[in-house]
Amino acid sequence: MPTDNRQMWAELGIDLKKHDMLMNALPPIYKEIYLSQKNRPQGMGFFDFVVGDIHGIRVQELRQHAKNGTIVVATYCVFVPDEIVLAADAIPVGLCAGTQFSVPIAEEVLPRNTCALIKSSFGFKLGRICPYVQTSHLIVGETTCDGKKKMFEILAEYHPVYIMEVPNKKTQRSRDLWRGEVLAFKGVIEKQTGNKITADKLSKSTRLVNDRRRALQRLYKARQANPVPISGKDALLVTQVSFYDDVSRCIKQVNALCDEVEKRVASSEGVFPANAPRILISGSPMAIPNWKLHHILETAGAAVVCEESCTGTRMFSDLVPETGGTVEEQIKAIADRYMQIHCACFTPNDERLDDIVRLAREYKVDGVVHYNLQFCHTYANEAVKVERALEKEGIPLLRVETDYSDEDAGQLRTRVDAFLEMIRR
């Protein structure tokens, strides 16, 4: 580990002993889960490098920006509009919350029967093991789940936190509330940065964030091919990294990967045999380094071809109209786009059911795996409706409830094996 990294971590107040344990745990896991895959696109090299130096070079960059007066805004959710942050010349960073490592630390404070994503994110701050949190000036939370909402109150005792209120219905009144929230957020960011968000800057940042969405859309489009040109694990990693990488570089790297992957599609080259069962995963987000379900599925012989989740299609499927106009008009367009995210926090949320059925058709899947983080009540209850919707369409479904630990890997493997046996015939 480079000594300048250690020095940086020390300066950021990282608990070096715990952090060393985390950093030592990651490489063997990554080797087993990622580097052992055969026939990976060369474009994944960049993402391997990013994970290989996960708390190094990108944190160095952010620190450099911060030293030059740039504000770093940390987020946990696809509802927080990056366009606003970027338009004020601040940097948005999606925080990771996908490891069991920080869960026991969080359980010193939070109730155990809280979802792993909430515990993991809180544990990173409480245990001082995430240099991204430490580098950030502000954490922006939201109200997409009751557990997060209350956790953020406690997190605010350790770090500056601002909360955006995401409504729970899709009525006009709710849309108006959300527009107000986005407008207020603009004010918060302007105040924090001291920079005015102009119509011009907002148009530029909108185009930039849309370009990232287009790049990811392109990658996912290639996954519709059979045989699939990239593994589900690799595609998930690309999405995960895009949350915290520099936006322009991310666009460039994802597009370069797409060039390669599209060539594979043109020559019918795949990473799995053409008869591998094609799986759509739908449900709770999978924050880096949560690769558990993808790994189990793809080790068992399936190909994960799409994720209907916040670390998947919900992040990038809708663009903000690039029609320009006044700041207020653009804010309205941005707010309306984010209201298209069919999160299970909404009631009713039938559009998500439609999305799942549509994606199942577009990606020509053989089955859907509904992924539910334990204690994530919105997705767990919505799964009942997902099950009915898919049954009506004759699409096989496997419901999985799990967390970040490995103790249920054997049981999950049994379910996955049985599900694949069921859909293979």
């Binding site: 334990q374 096989p396 409830e401 799990t402 103790e407 249920d408 054997g410 049981q411 493997r413 049994t414 379910r415 094996d417 049985a418 046996e421 069921m422 015939r425």
Partner: protein, 263 residues
Amino acid sequence: MICAGLDVGSRTIVLVTLDGDIADSAILETGVNPLQRCQELLSSRSYERLVVTGYGRHLVSSAIGGETVSEIRAYAVGARYLYPDCRTVIDVGGQDSKVTLLSEEGEVLKFEMNDRCAAGSGKFLEVMAKTLEVNIGDFGDLALSASRVVSINSLCTVFAESEVVSLISRGVESSAIAMALHEAIAARIASMVRRIGPRERVVFAGGAALNKCLCRLVSEKLGIEITIPREPQIVGAIGAALIAKSGGHLQQTDKSNSIAINP
């Protein structure tokens, strides 16, 4: 051709060999070295094809060889062999409970499986029997001798155990507590069965099907007749052996082949 089916469960390892019909079966405790146990079982027998199922299937097949198949499919195939009209399989094993719905042709249509913990599995019964200082084989009979009704609300093994301790400390006799525990687990299994929409015939297999009280309660709660094979523990291994024989294709058999009895 002699075919072997090996079911490497969390509590027991079962071997069945087929030579036309069931030629031989053996059951050993899994213990701490399942691989060695499997080698012991297989070394004294000759077979041409092997299929491994159960929790330890990947471990064992990578060391000893043989194809793998999930318990869900193995139990489905085994149950259909014994009862060609079987449409629903309940399998309560050491650490999992599974309910599988089959098509008229015997293909798996859907299945339910308990999540993550031991609640609703054979392990739950075992832990509770130990707390009540009764042999697992006598646990069901103890429950059936209960003369009054108490209830256990928790299905978490840890919490249920503390409920049991508090009932003991209130002087409740162990037969009534045993019954309450059986009621709790039967309710859990019955709700899994209902979720899947059971079709008759319902076959109850796995080690927990040896417990008559549990079988009776599940049947009562569902209001459905339940069939228990004479040796419920070996159903998965029978299925694995049949899959070895057919190369994965389900086969219909005549009812006269059945070794089963009705409760």
